[in-house]
Amino acid sequence: MSADEPKLLETKGLTKVFGTLFANDKVDFDIRPGEIHALLGENGAGKSTLVKMLFGSLQPTEGVVEWRGEPVSIPSPSTARRMGIGMVFQHFSLFEALTVAENIALSMQPDVQTSQVAERARELSNQYGLPLDPYALVGDLSVGERQRIEIIRCLMQDPSLVILDEPTSVLTPQEADTLFETLFRLRDEGRAILYISHRLEEVQRLCSRATIMRHGKVVDICDPREETAATLAARMVGAELQDIRPAPVSLDAAPVVLSVRGLSLAPDNPFAVALKDINFDVHAGEVLGIAGIAGEGQGEFFSALSGEVEQLPTGGKIELSGEDLSALNISERRKKGAAFVPEERHGHGAVTGMRLTDNMLLARHKSDQDSFQSGGGLGVIVRSAIRAATDRVNAAMDVRKGAPDPNAGSLSGGNLQKFIMGRELDRQPALLVVNQPTWGVDAGAAGHIRQSLVDLAASGSAVIMISQDLDEIFSIATRIAVIAKGTLSEPTDAAKMSREAVGLLMTGQAADGGQVAA
C-alpha cells in the first residue's frame, strides 16, 4: 500500500447529531485498498456511529461519503453489501438449530441453493484458513467457529471493504492468532479492512494506520507501529494514563480471607453452566484474577459466591475469615464483610429507574441498617444518612452526573460503574467479588476502577476479579486462575503465568484432560 494509491472510501465532514449530541462531528476519514486500518477510541467516542453510517444503518446529518472517488448515499445495509462493504459484528446473529450453510444461505438471495452455498463456503474456508464444516449445526460450534461463519458469510459477497467490530473480544489468544492470519491474507488480496478495537497491542500488530476518535471527532491519524500502547491510549483519553501497579504481597504471611472447598452448583436453567468442584483460597492483600472467555460459568460462580442463587450449592463450603457462609443469603454475607459487584449494571447492580440514593440503599440496607434505618422494626428510611453516603461515594469515585441525585439510568456506563464500585468500597469490605469490573467502561473510568481495586487489596482486603479482559487481569492480578466449562484452574502467581498458558487453560484443555475445543 502506498499513500498515492486511490482511496477506496473517504468521508468528508461526516456529522451525525442525536438531539443536541454530536455523535460524529465533521469526521474526515479514509481507507485505501490493501490496508488494515484501526479505528480507535473510548466507549462513546463515536466509532459505532461512524461505522453504522458507512454500513447504511444510520444516515448522516451532514457530510459526504465517497466510494471509489464518487459521492454515494448508503440508505441500508443491503445497499452497502451490494457496493462491496461487508461487516462482521461483535454479536453474532445465527440460528443455533440450523447448519452453517443454512445460516449463510439465509442472508443470500432466496433462489440460491443451500448445497451451492455449502460448496462455496468450503472453498472460502480452505482459501482463507478458516476450518469450518458447512453441515455442522451452529449450536455445536465454539464462539471462534461461529465468528468464522460470520466472516465467511461476509466474504460470500466478495467485499472490497471488511469492517470488523471488536472481533477478538470473544476469542482465546490462539483463536485470535488464526483470525489475524486470515486478515493478513485478505489484506494481501487488496481488500481494505477496518478494524475496530480497544486492544492496543493487537492494533499495533495488525494495522498500518489508525484513526483515533474522541468525543465524536477525529483527533489523530497515525501509524500505530511507531507508537507505544501508552501514547495511543493517551491520545484516546486525551491525557496520560497512570500506570497501575499492584502492591506486592507475600502470600505465605497473609491470612486466608476466603476459602472455597468443593463448590458445586447444578444449573438452574437449560442455558446455565454447572459449577464443578471449585477449590481456592484468597489471601488478605491480593487480587485473584479469574480469566475465561464469555459464558464459561462466570455468572454462576459469581452468584454462588454472592448467595443470590435460589438453591444452595449442592456441595462444598464457602468460608469467610473462618465463618461458614454456605447457608447464608446475600444480605447475611454482606453483614459478614463481603461485597459484590455484578457484571450487569442495569437491572442487577442498580435499578436504572431509581435515584442514586435508592441504589445506595439497594445494596446496603442490611449492612448499614443501623444508620440507614430507624423506627425499630418499622424500617423507616433515613434519607439524610443515605444522602451523605451517596455524596461521599460520588466524591471519592469522581462520579459525573447532571443532577444532585439523578436516576441511575441517566449516568454513562463508566460513571454508573464507578458509583456501584464506590458503593461497595465505601464499606471497606473484607472481601470484594467483582465480575467484569470495566466492561463497556471508558478508559479513564477503567483506570480509576482498577486503581481502586488495587488500593482496596493494599489496605488488607481480598479481591476476586472475574474478567474476560486479559490485559486487565495481567495488569492488576496478584494470582490468576482460569474458569472454563464450570471448573476453576489452580490459582498461580501472575508473574509465573504467560498469556499463552492462560489461553490454553481458557480453551478448557487442562480441564478436559487434553480434549481440544476446536
Binding site: 444516515q59 457530510g63 475496530i196 437491572g347 435499578v351 431509581m354
Partner: protein, 392 residues
C-alpha cells in the same frame, strides 16, 4: 412530517401530576363524541354525569358510599401493581371477604356484642387474603400466570356466594328471597351520622390510605416493593425474594378487597345477599391507575369513579342513556390514563423531514432505493439495525 416519541432522561414531574387530569379531559372529550352518536346533548350529558351528583347531598352521599369500597380495593391493588404482580381478581377477594365476615353472624345467630363487628372485619380481611393467596401460590409454585388465575377465581367466587345465599345460608323467614338474615346491630358498620347511608368504612379507607402511603414512600417495605416491581434480579441482589413478595402483595391486596367486601356487607346492606358483586373489584383497577398507584391518589380516583356510577344512574333516569354508558366511560378512562402515563417517560416530538442535504447526493447505480435517502423513517432504520444486532 411525523410524530415521534423520545424517551426522557428523567421522569417528568409535570406530567406525573398532570397525566390523570389529561386523561380525565380526554375521557370527557370522548364522552362528547359518544353523546353525539347517541343523539343526546353532550353538555347536558357531561353535566348529568360529572356535575349533578355533586349538587345535592343525597347524591353526594351515594358517591361517598360507592367510593368507599373502590378506595379500599384500589389502594390494595396499588401495592400489588407496584410490586409487579397483576391481581385482576379483586372482585373475587371482595366477595369472599364479604362471605367470610358474614359467616360469624350466620353461624352464631344469637351473639350480639361490641366484638362482633371487629371480628367480622378481621374475618373478612382473612378471607380476602386467603383467596388472594391462591393465584399467588399458583404463580410461585407452578409459574401459572396470575392474571388468568386471579380473573378466573372471580367467577368461582361469584358462583360460591350465589349458592351460599340461595341454599345453606338463606334466611328461612326471607320470603324466598336469596340472602342471609339481617345482622344484629352489633354486626352493622356504624353510619357516619344519623340516618346516613355513608358508614365508617370511609374513615377506615382514609386512615389506611395515609398509613399505606407512609409505608410505601418512607419505609424499607415500600422500597422492597418498588425494587422488585422494577427488576426482580436487582431485587435478588438486594436480598429481597420475588416469590415472597408475590405472596405478600396478593395477601395484602386480597385483605383490603376483603375488607371492602365486609364493609359493604355490614355497612351498606346489613346482610349478605346476591347483589354484592357490582364490579367494584374491576373498577378499582382503574382507581389504582388513575391514582398513579399512590394510596392518596387512589382516594381521589375512587371519588371520580364513584361519580361515574351515580352520574350514570342519574343519566339513565333523566336522559334515558343505558347504564352501560357508565362502563364505557370507565373503560375510556383507563385507556386514557394508561396512554397519558406515556408522557411521564416520553416526550412527543414532531419531526419534519429536512430538505436536500449533502448526504442525499444522487448515486447513479442505486436507482430503486435512492428515494429513501436520509428521509427514511428512523423506525425502519432501527428495525433493520436490530436484525443484524448492530451493537458496535
Amino acid at each position: 412530517m411525523r410524530v415521534e416519541l423520545t424517551k426522557r432522561s428523567d421522569a417528568s414531574p409535570l406530567f406525573s401530576i398532570a397525566s390523570p387530569f389529561i386523561a380525565l379531559l380526554l375521557t370527557m372529550a370522548a364522552g362528547v363524541i359518544m353523546f353525539l352518536l347517541l343523539g343526546k346533548d353532550p353538555i347536558t350529558g357531561l353535566y348529568t354525569y360529572f356535575v349533578q351528583p355533586l349538587l345535592d347531598t343525597w347524591s353526594l352521599e351515594q358517591v361517598l358510599v360507592k367510593a368507599t369500597p373502590l378506595a379500599l380495593i384500589g389502594i390494595g391493588l396499588a401495592i400489588c401493581f407496584r410490586s409487579g404482580n397483576w391481581n385482576i381478581g379483586a372482585e373475587g377477594q371482595y366477595l369472599i371477604g364479604g362471605a367470610f365476615g358474614a359467616a360469624i353472624p350466620v353461624f352464631l345467630p344469637g351473639v350480639d356484642t361490641w366484638l362482633l363487628l371487629p371480628a367480622m372485619v378481621l374475618m373478612g380481611m382473612l378471607g380476602g387474603a386467603l383467596y388472594g393467596a391462591i393465584p399467588a401460590l399458583l404463580k410461585t409454585r407452578f409459574g401459572a400466570n396470575e392474571i388468568l388465575t386471579s380473573l378466573m377465581l372471580v367467577y368461582v367466587a361469584q358462583q360460591l356466594v350465589d349458592w351460599l345465599v340461595r341454599a345453606p345460608w338463606r334466611d328461612p323467614k326471607g320470603m324466598g328471597f336469596p340472602g342471609t338474615p339481617s345482622f344484629p346491630p352489633g354486626g352493622q358498620m356504624p353510619k357516619l351520622w344519623q340516618y346516613a347511608d355513608a358508614h365508617y368504612g370511609l374513615v377506615l379507607a382514609i386512615v389506611l390510605a395515609v398509613v399505606i402511603w407512609f409505608v410505601l414512600s418512607r419505609t424499607m417495605k415500600g422500597f422492597e416493593i418498588a425494587v422488585l416491581g422494577s427488576s426482580a434480579r436487582a431485587g435478588r441482589f438486594a436480598g429481597f425474594s420475588a416469590k415472597r413478595m408475590t405472596i405478600f402483595a396478593f395477601c395484602v391486596s386480597g385483605a383490603l378487597a376483603g375488607l371492602a367486601g365486609i364493609a359493604e356487607v355490614s355497612g351498606t346492606v346489613g346482610k349478605l345477599d346476591d347483589k354484592l358483586s357490582l364490579g367494584y373489584g374491576f373498577s378499582a383497577i382503574i382507581v389504582a391507575f388513575l391514582g398513579r398507584l399512590n394510596p392518596l391518589g387512589c382516594l381521589a380516583a375512587a371519588f371520580v369513579l364513584a361519580l361515574t356510577y351515580i352520574g350514570g344512574e342519574n343519566a339513565q333516569i333523566a336522559m334515558g342513556i343505558s347504564d352501560r354508558a357508565t362502563r364505557v366511560f370507565q373503560g375510556l378512562l383507563l385507556f386514557f390514563v394508561l396512554a397519558s402515563d406515556t408522557l411521564i417517560q416520553y416526550q412527543i416530538r414532531v419531526v419534519r423531514p429536512k430538505p436536500d442535504k449533502p448526504s442525499q447526493t444522487h448515486q447513479p447505480h442505486s436507482g430503486p432505493i435512492q428515494g429513501r435517502g436520509s428521509g427514511s423513517p428512523q423506525g425502519k432504520v432501527i428495525a433493520s439495525a436490530g436484525q443484524t444486532e448492530m451493537n458496535a
